[in-house]
Symmetry: C2
Subunit: 345 residues, 2 copies
DNA sequence: CTGTTAGCGCTTTCAG
DNA sequence: CTGAAAGCGCTAACAG
């Protein structure tokens, strides 16, 4: 492996000082057109790329921001990540991704890694990071948290109201006449999951529909979890006409369980999901779900970090989850008659 | 923001020299238990985290390897990424992800960024990076390429034989009696897509089934692309009894088009995909597809890089794509009779 | 076993 | 406008 080029070699090749080359690279100070041309030529010819490590050390800033994500392979988080990338475009800063699963060693985790990398700021997605670590972090550098409300750090937490979204979803089902609505919940230790459950409950309460404990079943946001929970429900013979799943992935698992029993969606049962991940619009039938503006959220998080880095007060856009009515929901089937009219609307 | 701690401050606090602290942190050299304890205590109490930038500069190595991916949000690539993460576990090296979409500026792309970051090695996924840049890179540092065969760099290219996988898929359909099999192709400039098309063709040829140009339709690996192409086929009235999609995502789009026309899978038509992304096992019906060992591939790529970094000759595991028969395929429907027996097997 | 001392490649005063 | 020189925080000889 050839040693990589240094600023000094470029300077030598262009017959100028290292300071001059540095000025040109960074656009700081003024340099004569003559020398500038010589330096540019040398950089080009030699294929020089500044060593960011050295730049960071000398400058005291890495021009990078850490992005901590629970799972880099999740359709939801990766959509947010894309937004974050977009948000940093052209800012000079670039994102450094780290997934929570990743352990450098038993003693240090991804967060430590990012801190060691001396990122200038951090964006934390999701809620698995211990609160105290987050507080400590907030004292160290600009921090924006997505999807969790941190007591004392409200101004740096970007959230969409999951509760309202879940309420809308449940209300939609209620309006279609459903009364026995299953909620396929997410992990109990997940803030969003709890908020969605709360929205489900509120909608039922507001509609005066009593909550049935047996209709709230535990899931884990995965297809397999949704499948298992629904399977269990069916096996137990619990009656229901609709499922509101805590996310799209678990709704897919639930639907497979229905499918196995020959139950049709939305004819026999209605299903609504949450998130509106890319594939959901193409399910058969296309899934009615609650859309989260993932890309925009990521982009906004990046914008907030950038503002914080500039020492400005970041503006906090409000995001709302909104129901996307597609084709997995329909009026509750009438048992005693087949008089479901053919009238439009 | 508090300035972050330096090695020197720790050394001062522990009343030892910086060299001693460095030795302890890196496990190089031997240090008396007494001083070691004092240093550990200081590190702990102060919350010291080494500055990787400085370490990298001093050491001449960043202990990081760049991972370039076409799209961080793709279910396929992100599964590979997970494998890569696993593969680096405990090695001391850590992955730095960059997606090709991301542009630092008009002049420099993700690859430049990774080079600037002085990653010690690189893993490139997929085939969008210009060949000459890859060659140049290979001269600079250990490089492993996944999913592309680079002339002259065969030893560093990890591939699964896409052609054989596609052949299996097509053969499976052929064995079920299908003759009018659509191939919903991937992007023409994508090596894997071309290989899958080649496999489709080879299977047809081997079976003595003539290739019908109108059955090979262009897609782009997306749900929307699959939907549009299938829609067009249906609108044109082209007869066919099965679809072999170049990937699972486009197969979902295709299925939506069928669904819109009231066509049932696998009763009326059979569909097979490629990749076996996480959701495919939970489609209704579960999708018959060609599985790629994504996680293993990622892990193997990491292992190869690690070997290269140690100066060893990396071993090249062979991966094969294998058909996973699920429920989206069935014997071609008999038009003139409904005599499809009820015999098992 | 431990401290001293050169750098690593780059930015940034500070003089010219 | 430009160069010299002093670090940035850490590692790695090199002496003790």
């Amino acid at each position: 492996m050839p040693e990589s080029l240094t600023l000094e070699q470029v300077a030598r090749a262009a017959r100028v000082s290292t300071a001059t080359v540095s000025r040109i690279i960074n656009g700081t100070g003024t340099v004569s057109a003559h020398k500038r041309a010589a330096v540019m030529e040398a950089i080009e010819r030699l294929g020089y790329r500044p060593n960011m490590m050295a730049q960071a050390l000398a400058r005291g800033s890495t021009m990078s921001v850490g992005v901590l994500t629970p799972d880099i392979a999740s359709p939801f988080y990766s959509a947010v990540l894309r937004g974050v990338e977009r948000g940093f475009g052209g800012s000079g800063y670039h994102p450094v991704f780290a997934s929570e699963e990743w352990r450098v060693s038993s003693a240090s985790d991804s967060l430590d890694l990012l801190v060691s990398r001396r990122v200038d700021a951090m964006i934390v997605l999701g809620g698995n990071t211990p609160l105290d670590r987050l507080r400590e972090l907030a004292g160290l550098m600009p921090l924006v948290v997505l999807g969790r409300e941190l007591p004392g750090l409200e101004g740096q937490c970007l959230e969409v109201d999951q509760t309202v979204g879940a309420e809308q979803a449940t209300h939609h089902l209620l309006a279609l006449g459903h009364r026995r609505i299953v909620h396929l919940a997410g992990p109990e230790d997940h803030a969003d999951a709890r908020a969605r459950l709360a929205g489900y409950r509120r909608a039922l309460r507001d509609a005066g529909v009593p909550e049935a404990p047996e209709l709230i079943v535990p899931g884990d946001f995965s297809e397999a979890g949704g499948h298992a929970a629904t399977e269990a429900l069916l096996a137990a013979g619990v009656p229901f006409t609709a499922i509101f799943a805590a996310n799209d992935q678990s709704s897919a698992g639930a639907q497979l369980a229905l499918f196995r029993r020959g139950l049709r969606v939305p004819t026999d049962l209605s299903v609504v999901g949450f998130d509106d991940i890319p594939g959901s619009a193409f399910e058969r039938p296309p899934l009615t779900t609650v859309r989260q503006p993932t890309g925009d959220m990521g982009q906004a998080a990046a914008a907030m970090v950038l503002a914080l880095l500039r020492g400005e007060q970041p503006s906090m856009p409000t995001f709302r989850a909104a129901l996307v009515e597609r084709e997995s929901t329909a009026p509750v089937p009438t048992v005693r008659s087949n008089a479901r009219g053919r009238k439009k609307g």
